[in-house]
Amino acid sequence: MNIITGIKDSLLVSLWFILLTFPIMVIRVNTIENVVEWRWRNMLLVGAGSFILSLVWRYLHKRKEAGGQESPDEPETVPLVRRILDTPRLLIPALIALGIALAVFPFTFSVYQVNIMITAIMFVVLGLGLNIVVGLAGLLDLGYVAFYAVGAYSYALLNYHYDVGFWIALPIGALLAFSAGILLGFPVLRLRGDYLAIVTLGFGEIIRLILENWNEFSFGPSGISNIDRPGFFGIDFSFREASIYIYFIMIGLCLFTIFVVNRLEKSRIGRAWIALREDEIACQAMGIDKTKTKLAAFALGATWAGMIGVVFAAKTTFINPASFTFMESAIILCIVVLGGMGSILGVMLAAIILILLPEYLRAFSDYRMIVFGACMVLMMVFRPQGLISGGRSIYQLNQAQKDLQKDP
């Protein structure tokens, strides 16, 4: 009975999709010779495809709903990762294994693999940085890429004009991005929610347009080439060696970021951010300085973007404004949300998936981006709270105290 209605509904769905996709999938107008091409085969494909997908969708939904009815407190629903994190007996070997894998990786895989891994780790750090702003402080920032651009251009320009090296530029880029964060922070502090989102988006676009138009300053759309790769006591690296070197720099930076963000989250200001996210007014009533807290979130978030910007410039050795569009901001935001807002581990996982996915989807060639878009929708529909939802620290009485309470 249930199956029959399911099939009937799926048939209706596939009929709907056939109608829906008819003009775009079936008809192709050849404006050169003025002939219309009717691609009936596509119609069959759409029909069959949507029928099967609809069945799968229905099934998964049922699974999801059935899953939702289970009591959420059951211990077995605790995700594996969290279980590993919470038990040191599992955590330490897992970390060691991960460490070895990361250390061996660049020597066993090709330069290409190392390179996309660098990109993925860069986006891990970017995600962690934006996580401070969006995940912890709850400020929706759609122009995060602006700070990334600030970092990248500060290294590129310093390197071009004054021959400044990577290691000196790294803190300078971070500092400049920090200042840019404060500069942007001031005017927009009064705004809330989506008004903030559009202003940050605007800010990101303004930075990009300035880089594009102000030739004397930024060399315009033709960009800056021949930026130095990071140096190591003046040793001349080949491309492969340089990649491995940057890989380890990124691993180091990433560990540093995780450490800092983890500390920040549990610090006074971190808890102030979370409080601000949950309820601004209550937060003010508790005596938290709203302005300072928000500015700190913006500026600290921007700092990471600035740092990664420097690494980015050093890695590609060429930058132009095309790398700093709204799409990059959107991807970083996706990493934060998909990871589960506020969860460090989730952000890392999401960054790796979202950056490596399009690279490995190259196997699909033409269908790469369409699969990527579909994956984003599906991941959100089936894991709306993110891969690993941010665990709240709950302060519990420990066992000894409990026992004490039990038998007075």
């Binding site: 050169i32 091409e37 290409y112 030739n215 759309p221 095309a322 690279e359 981006m369």
Partner: protein, 377 residues
């Protein structure tokens, strides 16, 4: 339940992520000549990158049918860079680690610049059908780079010369699309006009590609009383501007470069395109090879080829021919052939100079007459 499913799916996902490239990498036959093709195959600039894949496919199909190069079949490795520098470095490293011998690409100058360093380190020769930034060859940084298209400054010189001497332009408006190619071209045009001192640049402005409409800039051109517009950029924006200009009954001359000299421009702009001037590679419509390839494309894909198609055909032929003649895929040997020997292509007989620019790819000025670009003698 759902959590368990999720936990299961993750390792599977990861495993498959890591395994796919390994398997696909090893499963390929070892003994082929690997020709990499890099360019934008998705995103907003896809229409400039996809034609070069089709071009290479056609050439390679023909060559493989005749027994390949050096007795080996030619294999295509197609990689998308979306015209973004950072992705271009990824595609370049991917091609290099797959053991590519020569590369056709990249398409955008910015992406090309980012990728060339990697090819240079790997001693791989890259030949672009479309990257026109003058510095790519003239700066001498990249001895491994060649192109089958002329640099921006060459075209700008021709455009300005034509506008001043033939069209008797006195007031010139220079408009560009803020892009790497368009703005570069426009800046050279401005420079040449100012150096010539025979005409004035009355307007120098950038428009936003993809904007909803361009009526404001058209009004501004009109207000500036320019008699000639020199436009640097691609055909989509150019067609919008020219249509609006003609709608406003403006008779201003419109001169542009090879970014506009595309049949799509005429198709889109229709009647308004009549009388538009564009510089472009010397007329090849009589070249038998060009005709063959255009026909082959029409037959295979049911449509006219897109931008830089013939340049890409020429580049593919030049590269494969050089490997054949050199007898190896060694970069130095291939370079020697590229610079020393002529090769027959749809663009005519070409070879390359020391810097990597093609010799023999001439330029002429075209005008749209009755719906086709006609070469002006």
């Amino acid at each position: 339940m759902k959590k368990r499913l999720f936990v299961f799916s993750l390792p599977v996902l990861f495993l498959s992520l890591f395994l796919t490239p390994i398997f696909s990498g090893n499963a390929l036959a070892q003994d082929t000549i690997k020709l990499g093709i890099a360019g934008p195959h998705s995103g907003d600039l896809a229409s400039y990158g996809i034609p070069s894949i089709k071009a290479a496919e056609l050439v390679v199909k023909e060559i493989n049918a005749k027994g390949g190069v050096l007795g080996k079949q030619v294999e295509l490795l197609v990689e998308d860079d979306v015209c973004k520098p950072e992705l271009a470095t990824n595609t370049a490293t991917k091609l290099v680690s797959k053991g590519v011998h020569v590369v056709l690409g990249h398409v955008c100058s910015g992406a090309t610049k980012a990728a060339l360093g990697i090819y240079k380190d790997a001693k791989v020769i890259a030949m672009s059908p479309s990257a026109t930034n003058p510095a790519l060859t003239q700066a001498g940084e990249f001895p491994n780079f060649y192109r089958t298209i002329a640099a921006d400054d060459e075209q700008a010189k021709l455009e300005v010369h034509f506008a001043i001497n033939k069209l008797k332009a006195k007031n010139i408006a220079v408009i560009h699309d803020k892009g790497d190619y368009g703005k570069g071209l426009a800046e050279y045009a401005k420079k040449f006009v100012e150096e010539g001192k025979q005409a004035n640049v009355v307007l120098f402005e950038g428009i936003t590609p993809g904007a909803v409409d361009y009526s404001a800039i058209v009004q501004k051109i009109k207000q500036s009383k320019a008699d000639t517009v020199i436009y640097g950029g691609y055909h989509p924006e150019a067609s919008s501007i020219i249509m609006l200009m003609r709608k406003k009954k403006m008779k201003t001359n419109f001169v542009s470069a090879d970014g506009v000299k595309d049949d799509t421009f005429i198709k889109v702009a229709g009647k308004s395109a009549e009388g538009v001037y564009a510089t472009g590679p010397k007329d090849v419509s009589k070249n038998p090879m060009a005709i063959t390839y255009n026909e082959a494309h029409k037959k295979a894909h049911g449509a006219d080829p897109g931008a830089f198609f013939l340049n890409a055909v020429a580049a593919t032929q030049a590269l494969l021919n050089a490997i054949q003649k050199a007898g190896s895929t060694d970069a130095a040997a291939v370079a020697k052939v590229l610079q020393g020997q002529d090769v027959d292509t749809p663009l005519g007989k070409i070879k390359f100079d020391k810097k990597g620019d093609a010799i023999g790819v001439g330029f002429s000025v075209y005008q749209v007459k009755k719906g086709v670009f006609v070469e002006l003698k």
